[in-house]
Symmetry: C2
Subunit: 223 residues, 2 copies
Amino acid sequence: MEKKKYISMAVIKRLPKYHRYLRELLRNDVDRISSKELSEKIGFTASQIRQDLNNFGDFGQQGYGYNVRELYKQIGIILGLTKDYNTIIIGAGNLGQAIANYSYFKSIGFKLKAIFDRNPKLVGLKISDVEVKDTDNLEEFLKNNDIDVGIICVPKEHAQGISEVLTSNGVDGIWNFAPIDLKVPKNVIVENVNLSESLLTLSCRMNDNLMGNRRKVNAIDEI
Amino acid sequence: MEKKKYISMAVIKRLPKYHRYLRELLRNDVDRISSKELSEKIGFTASQIRQDLNNFGDFGQQGYGYNVRELYKQIGIILGLTKDYNTIIIGAGNLGQAIANYSYFKSIGFKLKAIFDRNPKLVGLKISDVEVKDTDNLEEFLKNNDIDVGIICVPKEHAQGISEVLTSNGVDGIWNFAPIDLKVPKNVIVENVNLSESLLTLSCRMNDNLMGNRRKVNAIDEI
């Protein structure tokens, strides 16, 4: 396990993609795969793959390739998929509802415990079998329940305030959909999904494309 | 404009963040800012900022700093914000509806022309003043309308098929929310929002944190 400390953020960001491709291989009853074959599927270079996967153990053998099941299992452990995370959603608009109904979310151990919203029209509704509570009750709920992760789906002007309520009441992971950089204590992990930045990137790349400056983009750049 | 060709994907990915911070500065009537002050706000190093912004013109002056308005304008041009993109959404579930109602989307020139879904319960509904059409009519619609961008919000098993209908009928930009790597012609730009990869990254980083291996993450890693 000693090696694990040195896995860079760049590698961590690639692990979910490995995990997804390995799951597909297992579903297709593939037991072994070479870095070259994996490279053709996943779009990273074979040498990148060997370098990445060397980070956390010895799953490849010269002339044999990778043991798909073992590698999938180990990446799952590193990805934290053997744990459950008690989770709440703040903001029950379309986006909050989309997340609440997102089945993958539950399948990897994020247990939805409550949904909060300020809108009286939404309070009391059931979304994905979970009742929407009034955001006024958020702090009390956090004090009485052991919540690990908060998913912020509120407008950006409320996001920092919500994050402070979360982090001062024991939440140490935030999945943030509001387009701001949250200020959080050092021990708290924030993962941002910034739709506006993604859309601007699309716009920029299309514009660039139209101007005849299309550049080669390799799969690593995309992550 | 000659220099523009050499802007790397890494820089492009950072431009939306510059754009967002510069807009806030303008709103607060800030005309000039040094790379050092910008660094404190945005979290990139001052030298990174100087290097990035040097890519597309000479907006900084020693002892004066950057002209915020000029820089904001130029980044907007590079981001393609002076153009409109005729856009459709395929998939009118919660996520498609969230995107359709996302006001920022329209404010930067993505004009929502139609929404498609296979579900007869959704066909005919109005979302954000746009009527949901049957996906059976997608191809015909594309042949009769000049659509630039398709936003894919369908389940992953339908995503590749939809993308083929889009790209063979003139669409050259795809904002893809399905968790698969679309195979598209070379001239088509795909920007992915992969919620499952983002969630796995959160899970991985939390797991790592719990294991006492918390590492420093700088703002650049996050993008």
